[in-house]
Amino acid sequence: MNLVWSVLPDFLVGLKNTIILCVVSFPLALLFGLLFALMAGSRILWLRGPARIFIEVVRGTPIVAQIFIVYYGLGALLVNTHNSFLAQLITSWSAGILTLALNYTAYEAEVYRAGFSSIDKGQTEAALSLGFSPLQSFFRVLLPQAIPVLIPPFVNDFIYMLKDSAVVSIIAGTELTAVLMFWVRRNASDPLPFYLIAIVLYLILSLPIAYVARYFERRVRAAL
C-alpha cells in the first residue's frame, strides 16, 4: 500500500500527459475531419478523390504502424536533413499528437458524413431555394441541425482516443501507459498493483465521459 501511494504522483503525471495529448489532438481531428468530410462529400472529383483515398488508407492501417511511420520513418528523414529546426521537429509528443490527430481525422470525417446524411435533404433544398448561398445553407442550416446528432459519436470517439493514446508509450512517450510500463519493469516480481492503479485511473477518465455520452444520446433520441 505504501508503494502505491509513493508511485501515485508519477501515475498522475502520466494521466495529465494523456489528457494533454487528447485535448490537443481531438480538436485538430474535429477540424480536419470536417474539412475531409466536406471534401469527400463534394461533387468535385479533385476534392472527393484525395479525401476518400486518405480516409481509406488511414482506416485501413493500424495506428501502431502509423505511429512508427511518423516517429521513426518521418523522424529519421527529418533528422537527416541536418536542418536544426526540422531535425528536432519529431519528438514523441509531436509524433503522438500528429498520429492521433490524423488517425481520428479519418474517423471523424465518417462521423460528419453520417451526421450530415441523417439531416433531411429538403432542408438544404429549402435553404437554397430561399436564396442562401451553398456556404450559408451549410453553416446556417445543415451544420446547426447536425450538431446534436454529432455530439454522441464525438464523445464516444474522444473516449476511444483516450484509450488509443496508449500507443504513444511505444515511442517513448510519457503518458499513463508509459509510466505503468516503467514501474512494472522496476517491480517485475509484483506488477499487479501498478496495473490496478492504471486501470482505475483510465476508468476514472473514461466512465464519466461515457455516461455523459449516453445522456446526450438519450436526449437526442428523445428530441428526434
Binding site: 461533387r43 482506416r59 492501417t61 493500424p62 511511420i69 437554397l128 493514446s165 466512465l207
Partner: protein, 292 residues
C-alpha cells in the same frame, strides 16, 4: 453536400450521348491517380532488392496476424454471446457481472489489458507453476511434434486471450443491440406458440438478430486485425513485429521509412477488401431491405 442546382449537371444532361458522362477534368484526375500509383510503384521498385528480402517474412507475419485475429474473433464471439445473454439475464448478479466486464474492458486501453495478461497475470501464474508454453510443449512431445510449438507460445496464448477478452466486450454490446432490436412481438408470439425461453432465443430471436449483427461484427473484425499489431509488444512474431524488426536496425532513413510503409501496406491489403465487404453488408442488410 454544398451542392446547389449546378450548371454542370444541366450541361451534362444536355450533352448526354454526345459527350461521356464524366467531365473532361475528371479524366485528368484519373490520369493523375494512375500517375501517382505509378510513382508509388516506382518508389517500391527502387527498393526491390531489400523488399524482396523482407517480403517473405512479412507475408509470413501477415499470415500469423490473420490466424491470430481469426482465433481471437472466434473466442470474442463466445465472450460476446455470453456477455450479451448475461446482460439480458433475469438474475441481477449475472447482469451486474457482465456490465462490470463490459464497462471495465471498454474503459481501458487494449495495450494495458494485453500487458496485464502477459506481464501481469501471466507472470503471477508462471510463479504459481502454470506455464502454457511448457504444457503445450509437453503435449506436443507426446504427439512427437514439439517443434510446432513456437517459442513465443506464451505471447500467443495471452495475446489471444487478451484480444478476445477485449473484443468480447465490444461484441457483447453488438449482440445486445442486435437482440434488443428484434421486435418484442416475435418473442411473445413464439412464447405463446409454446416454445420455451431457450427455444425462443435459439430459433426465433437470434436468427433475426444476426442480420443486424453482421455489419458491426465485420467492422469489429477489421479493427481486431489492426489491433493485433499490439501483440508485437509481447514478442509474437506477427506483421508489425517483423516490420519493426527489419526497420529499426536500418541506418539509411529512406529504407527505414520504406520498410515501415511496406508493413503498413500489407495491413492495407488485408483490411481494405474487408472494409469494402463490410460496406456491402451494411447496404444489403440495412433496415430498408429488411421489410421488403
Amino acid at each position: 453536400m454544398l451542392a446547389g442546382p449546378s450548371t454542370r449537371e444541366t450541361s451534362v444532361r444536355l450533352g448526354q450521348g454526345l459527350w461521356p458522362r464524366r467531365a473532361g477534368s475528371d479524366y485528368f484526375y484519373y490520369v493523375l491517380v494512375v500517375v501517382a500509383l505509378g510513382a508509388f510503384a516506382y518508389y517500391l521498385y527502387q527498393y526491390r532488392q531489400e523488399g524482396l528480402v523482407y517480403l517473405p517474412a512479412l507475408l509470413q507475419g501477415a499470415l500469423v496476424s490473420l490466424v491470430v485475429s481469426l482465433i481471437s474473433t472466434l473466442f470474442a464471439l463466445l465472450f460476446g454471446l455470453m456477455g450479451a445473454l448475461g446482460r439480458l439475464s433475469r438474475f441481477r448478479l449475472i447482469r451486474w457481472l457482465s456490465t462490470i466486464y463490459v464497462e471495465v474492458v471498454r474503459g481501458t486501453p487494449l495495450l494495458v489489458q494485453l500487458l496485464l495478461w502477459y506481464y501481469g497475470i501471466g507472470q503471477v501464474l508462471a510463479v504459481a507453476g502454470f506455464n502454457p508454453h511448457s504444457i503445450a510443449f509437453e503435449f506436443m512431445t507426446v504427439l512427437q511434434n514439439n517443434s510446432l510449438v513456437p517459442d513465443a507460445f506464451n505471447g500467443f496464448f495471452y495475446g489471444i486471450i487478451g484480444l478476445s477478452f477485449n473484443y468480447g466486450a465490444y461484441m457483447t454490446e453488438v449482440f445486445r443491440a442486435g437482440i434488443l432490436a428484434v421486435d418484442k412481438g416475435q418473442t411473445e408470439a413464439s412464447l405463446s406458440l409454446g416454445l420455451d425461453a431457450r427455444q425462443t432465443m435459439r430459433h426465433v430471436v437470434l436468427p433475426q438478430a444476426i442480420r443486424i449483427i453482421i455489419p458491426p461484427f465485420t467492422n469489429n473484425f477489421i479493427t481486431l486485425i489492426q489491433d493485433s499489431a499490439f501483440l508485437s509488444v509481447m514478442a509474437v512474431i506477427e506483421l508489425e513485429y517483423v516490420t519493426i524488426g527489419f526497420a529499426l536496425p536500418q541506418t539509411n532513413p529512406n529504407s527505414k521509412l520504406f520498410v515501415f510503409v511496406l508493413g503498413a501496406l500489407c495491413y492495407l491489403v488485408i483490411c481494405y477488401p474487408l472494409s469494402v465487404l463490410a460496406r456491402y453488408f451494411e447496404r444489403r442488410l440495412s433496415v430498408e431491405h429488411l421489410d421488403v
